[in-house]
């Protein structure tokens, strides 16, 4: 078909669309004259006109995003990623899927976390990813889930963690109230893990109850530093995501992210201290400190929580003080190091009444 012919077809098509369907045949009769090819062209296009709402109205980027969302949902089961044979999908998150897998060399169970495939895959990037993963793999603490390995295979970045059987703190809190003793035990173990990691210069940046696993042996923090690994090209201090203001944002979780993290400012140990405060609030009250996923600092400010004792009378006043200072909006108003927080936790814990079940 020539360009002129297409123009002709398009003009007739539009004219025909503008009139009542039952009058179109007569219109085309006269408009096309004896040109039956032309008429057939226009009619065959009109036949599709009724499909007013077609899939074409859904932009292509949505198709791709949906595919990204569906991607990996169990499709890797039974496959090898490096030396790991994936057995089953045990978790799905926005930032990747978690598989139970067998390490074929060491013949043990591991958890393999795949990272979204939008990450760049050039050699340099992969190297940096592995370099940062090695930094995290240094962490060896009873309350931190150990990173065994990291790799890149078949277009996917993946992380290999020790395989844990336990219950996420988020679910435990949903199920039952924690006694003061139990809650302070969790707090102390979490704080201890954070102190340890901060000594290595590694900040968690995505601390929240669903990243805290409760095992028979104690608490385990998951995904340490993984927030940074999601984009190893950008240093943690100003990682990821340009926002409208042109700043960046590390991908944490709204409701636990400190103001500076929400705003894309520099993050440091005090950013984890804020999240720790939010987690502690939730452990004691079974309510989120900042519900409704506030995505801006003003939203965060608007729902700023009261004291734990408002919700759960009878907790030590020192606990209110501890959490309030963790949750200060300004990093400089917070506890300045996790070890300060840890010693506060230890003190509160030591001073709890023996039963520990006061006002559970």
């Amino acid at each position: 078909m020539s360009a002129e012919r297409l123009q002709q077809v398009q003009a007739l098509y539009n004219d025909a669309l503008a009139i009542e369907p039952k009058e179109r045949a007569a219109f085309l009769d006269s408009a096309c004259g004896g040109d039956s090819d032309l008429r057939r062209e226009v009619e065959s296009l009109l036949a599709y006109q009724d499909q007013a709402e077609t899939w074409l109205d859904k932009p292509a980027y949505q198709v791709a995003a949906q595919s990204l969302a569906d991607e990996g949902a169990g499709v890797l089961v039974d496959r090898m990623l490096g030396r790991y044979q994936l057995l089953s999908l045990v978790g799905r998150g926005g930032m990747g899927d978690v598989y139970c897998a067998v390490d074929s060399r060491l013949n043990r169970l591991v958890a393999v976390k795949t990272l979204p495939s939008y990450m760049a895959t050039d050699k340099q990037h992969v190297q940096r990813f592995e370099q940062e993963a090695r930094a995290i793999a240094v962490l060896n603490h009873p309350n931190i889930c150990i990173l065994h390995d990291a790799g890149y295979d078949d277009g996917l970045h993946y992380l290999v963690f020790e395989y844990l059987v336990g219950e996420p703190l988020s679910e435990r809190l949903f199920r039952e109230t924690q006694s003061l003793t139990r809650a302070m035990e969790y707090a102390t173990q979490i704080a201890d893990a954070l102190v340890y990691a901060h000594e290595f210069g590694i900040i968690h940046l995505d601390l929240k109850p669903s990243n805290i696993m409760l095992m028979r042996s104690g608490v385990k923090l998951l995904d340490f530093g993984v927030a940074e690994l999601r984009d190893p090209d950008t240093p943690a201090s100003n990682a990821l995501l340009e926002t409208k203001s042109g700043s960046r944002r590390t991908p944490g979780t709204p409701g636990y992210m400190a103001p500076e993290q929400l705003e894309g400012g520099p993050t440091d140990a005090r950013t984890d201290i804020f999240a720790f405060g939010a987690v502690l609030y939730e452990v004691f009250t079974q309510r989120r400190a900042f519900p409704h996923n506030p995505e801006t600092v003003s939203a965060l400010r608007a729902i700023y929580p009261g004291c734990i004792s408002d919700v759960r009378p009878g907790v030590p006043a020192s606990l209110d003080t501890l959490v309030a200072r963790c949750l200060a909006l300004q990093p400089s108003d917070r506890w300045q190091s996790m070890s300060e927080v840890l010693s506060q936790c230890a003190e509160i814990r030591a001073n709890l009444p023996a039963s520990g079940r006061v006002n559970a």
């Binding site: 065959s44 198709v63 995003a65």
Partner: protein, 194 residues
């Protein structure tokens, strides 16, 4: 180096790409995917309930984030939106191709057009590739209509935005878009009467 990625760089990358620097696309791709992934995360989190409500807002949000508007001169904005749509097209087509032909998928997976005419919910990546190919044929005959499709379908722009970018009236865009859809569907699914 892209270590310190500022929006200004993205604007520069778009400019470089439009000037024929092929490497720029490789550097833009992860940025676009970051935005797509944000969208995907919302899909996973919120199921499929409120997609349509979010659709236009999100893509605009993505462009606003991707492009450093204050540094783009006003007369060039239209041009940059047009280039953005082209970039999106390239990246999405590459993505669809890689997903459909990846070795993980168990070899070549072709969606036969005979299976396709469920017009309302065929949103597969395969149709994305089909549109791209058909668009190539249309562009040779009618570049303007082809650009309407590129902006609307690949760029995700609304009728009003498309009109502004192309310097046309919205009604012209609507007419072009309606015709283009019918033309594409017929290209893809064949003559319904035959």
């Amino acid at each position: 180096m892209l270590d310190q990625q500022s929006p200004h760089d993205i604007t520069d990358l778009l400019r470089l790409w439009s000037e024929g620097e092929p490497g720029a696309l490789d550097r833009l791709t992860p940025l676009v995917f970051r935005e797509l992934h944000r969208l995907a995360v919302r899909y996973v989190g919120r199921e499929r309930v409120d997609h349509t409500l979010q659709a236009t807002g999100l893509v605009n949000e993505a462009y606003i984030r991707l492009i450093d508007w204050p540094n783009v001169e006003w007369k060039n904005r239209e041009h940059f939106f047009a280039v953005s749509a082209q970039v999106m097209r390239h990246i999405l087509v590459d993505y669809a191709r890689s997903r459909l032909y990846s070795k993980r998928g168990g070899g070549v997976r072709c969606v036969s057009l005979d299976d396709a005419p469920n017009l309302s919910d065929n949103n597969s990546l395969a149709s994305l590739l089909d549109v791209d190919r058909a668009l190539g044929r249309l562009a040779a005959l009618d570049p303007r209509t082809a650009q309407v499709i590129e902006l609307r379908y690949f760029g995700g722009f609304t009728v009003e935005e498309t009109a502004r970018i192309m310097g046309l009236s919205p009604i012209t865009v609507i007419r072009s878009w309606n015709f283009a859809k019918a033309w594409l569907l017929r290209e893809l699914y064949g003559d319904m009467k035959s």
